[in-house]
């Protein structure tokens, strides 16, 4: 280094004073930073890392749990849906049966009513006919007695009329 040699400057000359100052300064800085900078920073970073790790683990577990729950719920939902469908089906079937039953009952009732009505009508008809017969007999007796101008007792009359009526009915039946 001719350029530097001109200034009588030796790059590799060790200055003992500077060595001592460097050592002292570095050691002081080392101790101060060790106690008041590195220790707190390192423990803070470690604490944070640990916390982050724990949080991650926890979240992983929570997620697993949530996924399990979700799966469970989905299964439950599925089974509930199936059950509901089944219930609906059953209901439909029941309703169908019920409907058929009701219709059958109604039909039966209607038939029953109809037959009863028919019976009533028949009865009324019979009754009416007998009443008609009665009144016809009486009227006929009155008419006949007036025509004959004589009283025949009621027993005779009735006998005669009934004989006559029987003949009429017979002829009616034969005629119809």
């Amino acid at each position: 280094m001719p350029l530097l040699a001109a200034g009588s400057f030796n790059l590799l000359a060790v200055n003992p004073g500077l060595v001592i100052w460097t050592a002292v300064t570095f050691i002081v800085v080392l101790v101060v930073l060790w106690l008041f900078a590195w220790k707190p920073i390192i423990s803070a970073i470690d604490a944070r890392n640990e916390r982050v790790e724990n949080d991650l683990k926890e979240s992983r577990e929570l997620r697993e749990k949530a996924e399990n729950l979700l799966r469970e719920y989905e299964q439950k939902m599925e089974s509930a849906r199936a059950e509901a469908l089944q219930l609906l089906d059953e209901g439909k079937k029941d309703a169908e049966v019920q409907k058929a039953k009701i219709i059958a009952a109604a039909k039966e009732e209607a038939e029953r009513l109809l037959s009863r009505a028919q019976a009533d009508i028949e009865q009324a008809k019979v009754k009416a006919i007998s009443e008609l017969e009665q009144s016809t007999v009486e009227t006929t007796v009155q008419i006949l007695s007036r025509i004959l101008q004589r009283d025949i007792n009621d027993e005779d009359h009735k006998k005669i009329v009934l004989q006559e009526l029987g003949a009429i009915r017979k002829s009616n039946i034969q005629g119809s």
Partner: protein
């Protein structure tokens, strides 16, 4: 860039002192004062001369010089420029890191501030990528030392890139005429302490500093060796499987190898931190060597480029020193 401006400013009075150049010459009175100042500054380093020599400027910038003389038991313990720079750097480190650490420790689960996050990322980088990668789970006790190495070297490297602000102020003031330097009389605008408190020198660009740091590395390697291998460390220096006749020879060689490691550390850091400055000064020296404006853009652009490279190198060398220290410690934790 600041460096180049600084170098320019430093050279400014010298430039005007030259008999050649420039139409806009200052008046003769100011001229003379400037010349005095020029003579005065190198006088501090003991290489004063009226004639401008680029080597003087380089020596002024790279060489250490005592600011306060001090002698203890006949040993020169002067507070030199590098000592002051080291103290300034240490003070900055402590003032930056301790409050940041307190803030982080106070509430470790809160997201740190931007600066806190930056410091944390550097700390994590040193711990994970330097300490843990070289030593595995044995790295824990060495982390504070490695962190201190990294930050101490880094801050000294970076501070060395900032030019001597006090000197620039002095020069600029004298050149522009608001400062007058007449014998013992000082202006109130003069900042005599500023020149001394910001010497603007790279502390890590000195063999005494780098060798001391490397010596601490060496001691740590020895301590780690004995701590992890016990007294057998002395025998285990030599790798196994060697014929016993060769053992003495190998032992000497391996011990030399052990010494080479810190030696290389010291030289590497010194050379890297000196080379960039030297190149910048040489590039700017072209201007005065060739006495031509044509070289100016090239010189300045080159200096800026080298300055940016130096910025990178400042981080790189702090990393390399720390990383190799970690690697050497890791290599003695287990026998070969």
């Amino acid at each position: 860039m600041k460096k180049s401006i600084a170098a320019l400013l430093l050279a400014l009075p010298v430039l005007s002192a030259e008999p050649v150049v420039e139409s806009s010459q200052p008046e003769v009175a100011a001229h003379e004062q400037v010349e005095q100042a020029t003579a005065d500054v190198p006088a501090e380093t003991g290489h004063g001369s009226d004639e401008f020599k680029i080597s003087d400027v380089i020596v002024h910038h790279l060489a250490d010089a005592p600011l306060w003389h001090l002698e203890v038991n006949g040993l020169d313990m002067s507070i030199t420029k590098r000592v002051v720079m080291m103290w300034v750097g240490s003070l900055i480190l402590i003032l930056l890191l301790v409050p940041t650490a307190r803030k982080i420790a106070k509430n470790p689960y809160q997201a740190p501030s931007r600066f806190g996050a930056f410091i944390e990322s550097l700390v994590s980088f040193v711990r994970n990528n330097i300490a843990h990668d070289s030593m595995g789970h044995h790295s824990h006790p060495y982390e504070p030392l490695l962190l201190t190495f990294f930050f101490f070297i880094l801050i000294l490297n970076l501070l060395g890139l900032i030019p001597p602000l006090g000197e620039i102020y002095q020069m600029a003031g004298e050149a522009l005429g608001w400062l007058h330097h007449e014998g013992d009389h000082h202006d109130s605008l003069q900042l005599p302490l500023a020149v001394k408190l910001w010497p603007g020198i790279t502390a890590t660009g000195d063999i005494s500093v780098t060798a001391t740091l490397a010596g601490i590395t060496f001691l740590t390697i020895l301590i780690a060796g004995f701590a992890h291998q016990g007294i057998l460390f002395i025998r285990n220096v030599v790798p196994g499987g060697i014929h016993w006749l060769l053992f003495p020879l190998m032992w000497v060689i391996e011990i030399a190898g052990l010494l080479t490691k810190p030696f290389a550390l010291a030289i590497r850091l010194l050379a890297n931190m000196t080379a960039g400055h030297l190149i910048i000064l040489a590039l700017l020296g072209f201007i005065f060597q060739f006495q031509s404006w044509g070289i100016v853009p090239l010189s300045i652009m080159g200096s800026v480029a080298i300055f940016l490279l130096e910025l990178f190198v400042a981080f790189l060398q702090a990393y390399i020193f720390t990383f190799l220290t970690a690697l050497f410690i890791g290599s003695v934790q287990h026998r070969h």
